[in-house]
C-alpha cells in the first residue's frame, strides 16, 4: 500500500522550520540538552522530508510500505523529536517530559520499539547507512517500492562503515536508497576539513558510484525537489550533499562551534525567538 506524502508548499515548510528551530533552542535551555548547532543545521532537511516528501502515515508508523528516514547523526535527535511530534507521530505535549528520568526524549533516538516514528536508534556514528541499505535491500526482496533516506553529518563520514555501505549500495545499484550529508563543515572539536580532509565530498560520493547532487541545505524548494527525485532514474543510489551552516537561523550561533555543546541562557532563547519571529 502506497501512503501519501504530506506535500506542503515551501512557504508553509519555512514556517514549520522556524517553529522547529525555536522549539529546539527553548528545549535546550529548559532541559540542558546540547548539540544545538548540529540540530539547527539539519532542520530544513528534516522538515522538507517529513512535511513534503516522505510517504508515511503517522497513525501507522510501522506500515510495511512506508518510506524510511534514519537520522544517522543521532545527536540531532532534539530536532527529530520536535519534527516527529509536529508531524503527528505523538502528541506535542509528550515533549514536556523531555529530559525527565524515564522519558524517551534525551540526546539520541531510542529504538523503533520505544518511540513511534523512529526507524533506528542511532548515536554511535556510521551505523545509519548500513542499516538503511539493509532496509532498502529488504524492500527490493519483498517487491516493495519504499525509499530509504539516511542523514549523515560530515564528521560522520570519518567512519569507515559509511564507505563500506557506499561501496555495496553502488555494487547492488540500490536506487531506492538516498544519503543526505548535512555538510556544515564542522565536527565536534574542529573544522571537518582539517580533522580528516573531507573535501571534495561530493566528488567522493560520485567516485563511489552514487548519483550525486549538491545543494544549499537550507533552500527548501531545492531540498524538496532533490528528496522527491529518489530514485532519480540513473539506476544508482542518490547522494545529496547539502551545504549547511551549523547553528543556522540564530545569528549568534551560526558557524560558531561552541554551540556544539553550549546551552543557551533565558535571554539568548528570547533573542533567538525574536530573530526567528516565532513564539515557539
Amino acid at each position: 500500500m502506497m501512503v501519501a506524502a504530506a506535500g506542503l508548499d515551501t512557504d508553509e515548510l519555512g514556517r514549520i522550520a522556524r517553529r522547529v528551530r525555536a522549539r529546539i533552542v527553548e528545549n535546550s535551555h529548559r532541559t540542558g540538552t546540547p548539540h544545538l548547532g548540529s540540530c539547527l543545521s539539519c532542520v530544513d532537511i528534516l522538515v522538507a522530508a517529513y512535511f513534503h516528501t516522505l510517504r508515511l502515515d503517522p497513525a501507522e508508523p510501522h506500515a510495511p510500505g512506508r518510506d524510511r528516514f534514519i537520522l544517522s547523526k543521532g545527536h540531532g535527535a532534539p530536532a527529530l523529536f520536535q519534527v516527529l511530534a509536529l508531524r503527528g507521530f505523538y502528541p506535542v505535549e509528550w515533549l514536556e517530559r523531555y529530559g525527565e528520568d524515564g522519558s524517551m526524549f534525551a540526546e539520541h533516538p531510542p529504538t523503533p520499539h520505544d518511540l513511534a516514528g523512529i526507524e533506528a536508534a542511532t548515536g554511535s556514528l556510521g551505523h545509519g547507512l548500513p542499516l538503511g541499505l539493509g532496509m532498502a535491500l529488504a524492500g527490493r526482496i519483498q517487491g516493495a517500492s519504499y525509499r530509504v533516506y539516511a542523514v549523515l553529518s560530515d564528521g560522520e563520514c570519518n567512519e569507515g562503515s559509511v564507505w563500506e555501505a557506499a561501496l555495496m549500495a553502488a555494487a547492488r545499484r540500490v536506487e531506492t536508497l538516498a544519503v543526505v550529508i548535512d555538510y556544515n563543515k564542522w565536527q565536534a572539536t574542529g573544522r571537518s576539513e582539517e580533522v580528516m580532509a573531507i573535501q571534495p565530498l561530493a566528488e567522493k560520493w560520485r567516485a563511489f558510484g552514487w548519483s550525486t547532487y549538491e545543494t544549499d541545505g537550507h533552500d527548501l524548494p531545492s531540498l524538496v525537489r532533490l528528496l522527491s527525485n529518489v530514485p532519480d532514474g540513473s539506476g544508482k543510489p542518490v547522494a545529496i550533499v547539502a551545504h549547511t551552516v551549523k547553528g543556522r537561523g540564530v545569528s549568534f550561533m551560526e558557524d560558531d562551534n561552541n554551540w556544539h555543546y553550549r546551552i543557551p541562557s533565558a535571554a539568548e532563547v528570547e533573542r533567538a525567538k525574536q530573530e526567528l519571529g516565532v513564539e515557539a
Binding site: 523503533p112 548500513p130 532496509m135 519483498q142 562503515s161 555495496m168
Partner: protein
C-alpha cells in the same frame, strides 16, 4: 559442519522466503545451491563486515530473517559494535554464524582463531549463544535460531568433524542434551570438543570410572535446571570447550555456581589459556598445546577423582 550448514540453510531458504544469506566474501562454491534457488536472497557483502552486520540488522527490522556468515573473528570482534547496537539493542532477529570455532583454523594463526567469541557475545543483552557439537546438532540449532525472535550467535566448526549424534535428538535452545549416562562425574561440553570429550569418557571408563556427558549446545541462556541437577549429584563437574577458560562455558558455569548451592561438587574448567599461540600447527597440535586433547584431559581428571 560447514557443509551441513550450507545444506541446511539452502533447505531453510527454499522453504522460508524471509531467509536471506549474507557472506563476507568466503564460502567459494559453498553456497552455489542457495544462490541457484534464491538468487535474490544471497549477498556476498565483500570484505566489509561492519556494513554486513548493519545491513543484516536493517533487513531484520524490515521483516526478513538474515543469516550472516564468515570466519568467526570477522563476524564477532571485527564488527562487535554493530552486533551490540544494530542487532542487540534493536532486538533484530539476525543469526550470526561464525565458522572455524576455537582452534579449527589453527594453521591460519591467531588472526583466525576464536577463543573469545563465546565470552564477548554472551555479555550482550538480548543475545543467545549457541555452539552445536556436530552436524546433526548444527541443523537443529540453525532451525531453532531462524525461528527465534531475537539475535542469535552460533559458532560452528569447519568441515569433516565426526558426527556424534546417531539420530536427531530433541532440541530446544537452552536445553542441554545428555550424551552418556554416568555416576562418578559429569563432563559438560560445548561445541566441537564433544568428540574429544566422548574419548575422555571412554578412557575414564577403562579405569572403572563412570562419566556422564552433557552437550551444552546453548551457552546462553544456560540450562540452569540441568546444572542444578548435576551439581547436586556429582563430586566433580568439568567443563570442556575450545575457548578461553575466562568467560565462555566454564566461566558461565562458575558464575552460576557462585550464586547457587552450596554443592558438594568441585568444578574444573578445561579451555585455552590466557595467551596467543605464536607457533603454527594443526588443530590437534594447538589443542595439545592447550592441554585440550583427550589424554591430557583424562590425566588431569584422574587425580581429581582420587584415582591413581
Amino acid at each position: 559442519m560447514r557443509n551441513a550448514f550450507a545444506e541446511e540453510i539452502t533447505r531453510l531458504g527454499a522453504k522460508d522466503p524471509r531467509v536471506v544469506l549474507l557472506s563476507g566474501d568466503i564460502g567459494n562454491k559453498l553456497f552455489d545451491r542457495f544462490r541457484e534457488r534464491a538468487p535474490d536472497r544471497f549477498f556476498n557483502c565483500g570484505v566489509a563486515e561492519a556494513n554486513m552486520m548493519g545491513v543484516a540488522a536493517g533487513m531484520a527490522l524490515s521483516g526478513l530473517r538474515p543469516v550472516v556468515y564468515t570466519i568467526t573473528p570477522f563476524t564477532t570482534t571485527r564488527c562487535y559494535e554493530q552486533i551490540r547496537v544494530d542487532a542487540c539493542y534493536h532486538r533484530a532477529p539476525v543469526v550470526i554464524v561464525g565458522t572455524g570455532a576455537g582452534l579449527s583454523y589453527a594453521e591460519l594463526g591467531p588472526t583466525h582463531h576464536s577463543c573469545e567469541d563465546l565470552a564477548i557475545l554472551r555479555v550482550l543483552p538480548e543475545m543467545t549463544v549457541l555452539a552445536p557439537c556436530d552436524a546433526v546438532e548444527l541443523r537443529l540449532a540453525l532451525r531453532a535460531a531462524i525461528s527465534h525472535p531475537g539475535p542469535v550467535y552460533m559458532r560452528i566448526g569447519k568441515k569433516g568433524e565426526p558426527v556424534v549424534h546417531q539420530r536427531e535428538p530433541e532440541f530446544a535452545i537452552g536445553r542441554a542434551i545428555t550424551m552418556r549416562a554416568g555416576e562418578t562425574l559429569c563432563l559438560i561440553s560445548t561445541g566441537n570438543m564433544m568428540p574429544v570429550v566422548l574419548e575422555v569418557a571412554g578412557a575414564l571408563a577403562a579405569h572403572g570410572i563412570s562419566p556422564r556427558v552433557e552437550s551444552f549446545h546453548t551457552v546462553k541462556p544456560l540450562d540452569q535446571e540441568r546444572l542444578q541437577e548435576i551439581f547436586a549429584i556429582y563430586r566433580l563437574v568439568a567443563t570442556v570447550e575450545e575457548h578461553g577458560r575466562a568467560g565462555g562455558l566454564g566461566g558461565s558455569v562458575a558464575e552460576w555456581l557462585a550464586e547457587h548451592g552450596p554443592f558438594p561438587a568441585r568444578l574444573m574448567t578445561f579451555g585455552t589459556s590466557d595467551t596467543f599461540l605464536h607457533e603454527m600447527g594443526s588443530q590437534d597440535y594447538a589443542r595439545r598445546r592447550f592441554g585440550l586433547d583427550a589424554e591430557s584431559i583424562a590425566q588431569r581428571l584422574l587425580p581429581a577423582l582420587g584415582a591413581p
